[in-house]
Symmetry: C2
């Protein structure tokens, strides 16, 4: 897959990344994609932050799968994040496995894949690495930072850590801290992976083995949380899979079983099991208020960032209430914030799906922010 990861920025042993946990990462790579063109004063840059198992191929066509990028409905010419106006950059987070350095990368100290010798990283580490990438590309500040789910955590972290580099921010279907229930679901996924003897204590790559069954179970469990009960009922209900009656056995009698098994199976081909451990752990550790002495509003003191918070009514993984807490904190520091709750039965996954009201909200937010920034269509047009 390494031939097809697109652009990669390499940071040498002389450019170490100081990590939250005290360790140092060096050297490291950040794989990224860009769409559209940067304007003269570099004021039209939109940073896209992907979710847990996402990648840098947000728009256009994915080079490996041949399918449309995960946010190709959102990003492109004439789309809500309009590449005729904006220069869009989407990096793969560190800890992941689509070209950026993570546990599947070669540890220069041993010449073998890191495995669990890779340092545990946080959302802040991911953001710091992205800031280095922007430095490298000569990008000072961002017109906007946008992302959903874990991507939304990165957006919040960006706005809190580098407020002077962020003009506007849209955290979508996310939270300022990972909930107890969400930590619990992540822990189930991790235990499923670690229970697979093919995991080999994390050393499976060196031994040419793969904990595919454990990773598939982890994905299946997670996938249920991405949908709403209504969506599952509407899509599958109790419909049977290619049969007229139940078989009194353990085959996938029901469509929902067949669907989940498929989701588990295809995931194993595209994602590294250790990366799944590391990236879920980064989400578990995310707690902006905790980092700010327990009071969320202190994470945004005096901020000039314009915020657009988006939640979805049927999202039970990151329920609206969690977005509302962010809004309250931003209100408490008199920030410029708008809040949109989108009515949908599609659950957490809605941020990746065709939701016209959601697209309008993002398009409207960016247009208004562009006006405030003095980004005319003509200017961005060059």
């Amino acid at each position: 897959m390494t031939d097809q990861i697109g652009q990669v920025a390499h940071f040498s042993i002389d450019e170490p990344l100081q990590l939250d946990g005290g360790e140092i990462l060096a050297p490291y790579d950040i794989a990224y994609e860009t769409y559209g063109e940067m304007n003269r004063d570099r004021s039209n840059v939109v940073l896209i932050c992907h979710a847990l198992t996402g990648d840098q191929f947000a728009a256009g066509t994915h080079p490996v799968s041949g399918k449309p990028g995960w946010w190709s409905r959102m990003i492109g010419p004439g789309k809500p994040i309009d590449t005729n106006r904006f220069f869009v950059i989407c990096p793969n987070v560190i800890g992941s496995c689509l070209g950026s350095t993570g546990p599947a990368s070669i540890d220069p100290g041993t010449g073998k894949p890191y495995g669990t010798a890779f340092p545990v990283i946080t959302i802040k580490d991911m953001v710091n690495a992205q800031a280095r990438l922007l430095d490298r590309l000569g990008i000072g500040d961002l017109f906007s930072v946008i992302g959903g789910s874990m991507g939304g955590m990165l957006v919040l972290q960006w706005a809190s850590l580098y407020p002077e580099r962020v003009f506007s921010a849209a955290p979508i279907a996310t939270a300022a801290r990972h909930s107890s229930q969400n930590i619990a679901f992540h822990e189930v996924g991790r235990q499923a992976i670690m229970a697979d003897p093919e995991w080999c204590g994390g050393d499976y790559l060196s031994q040419d083995r793969r904990p595919g069954k454990g990773l598939a179970v982890a994905r299946m469990a997670a996938h249920i949380t991405y949908l709403s009960e209504e969506a599952l009922q509407r899509k599958f209900g109790r419909n049977l899979q290619d049969r007229e009656r139940i078989t009194f056995g353990f085959d996938a009698d029901f469509q929902v079983e067949s669907y989940l098994r498929h989701q588990g199976m295809v995931f194993v081909d595209r994602f590294d099991a250790n990366s799944y451990l590391y990236v879920t752990r980064a989400m578990d550790y995310f707690d902006l208020a905790g980092d700010a002495g327990g009071q969320l509003h202190k994470a945004f003191c005096g901020t000039h960032v314009r915020f657009c918070i988006v939640s979805f009514t049927s999202d039970w993984l990151f329920p609206t209430e969690e977005s509302r807490q962010i809004v309250h904190a931003l209100n408490a520091c008199a920030a410029n914030v708008s809040f949109v709750e989108i009515e949908t039965d599609k659950g957490h996954d809605a941020f990746l799906l065709d939701e016209p009201e959601f697209f309008s909200a993002i398009a409207g937010f960016l247009s208004s922010a562009a006006r405030e920034r003095g980004l005319t269509a003509k200017e961005t047009d060059q």
Copy 2:
């Protein structure tokens, strides 16, 4: 454990049980416990139906764990199901592993444990086996059938299949058909078990192995669904387990992780992995309306059973809406039905916990039904 399973009714090869799936089960055992005393005309019998991983030890002290029975708050002298008035009987369902015949039992045809050669059973099969047990004990009809979760499915099946043998019925925190989301969670659990190489294609008992890791993961995933997000937040939040800060690793940093791991670990000691497959499958297959031509009310046509339907506000595994559908169906056939929704943040597990309003509802329902049946305190007192 077989020394401590309490009373057992044995059904010989000459008393075969015809199963829903077309196969026959013979011989078979049903383990059961009783509390209180039967009155002269045998009109005070209350049948208790346990949940997925429950057992016959509903009241008193569990002979193996030494802990109180799973419904010891509900059943006993002076308690809502008052053993001073009622004769309570609680059988272990077939397919389970606490003394009744299931996949861990010896297949008389081979002399080895059944494993996956055990026939797939349904909720109806469980009820039919219980009816045989009552026949054996000389019990014609039941004053009441009561149970929560899967136990509630058995209650509904009892009322539908044997209306003439049921005077009153209380299906609690349950549904008339297993939802798509619930099938999905069960499938994750089954895949976790089957992914464990120690499962050995279901033949682990013969090979003296145990798929403990897979079963623990299954239990962990299920356990999350038994609690509400609020309860998890209240009990654990993001509290750390015996440490002051996160460790930047994959140990159980958070209390909720430690709790789930513990739940997984202790479950493995008390439950058979294949039974988990079989009993979850029976729940998946449950669909009273499907069996009645797609119209739930037809499952209860002309019924004289008095119903008390109970749901809990924060139960997202069997939400109130599912109970309401049962109520609507019962209303459609002019049945005698009362419906109680209990306000609680404890989630599905609430039916096993200390919920005074719930206890009052059950006590009130039984008192009123006893009056209608002419069961005076004196008469039951003998």
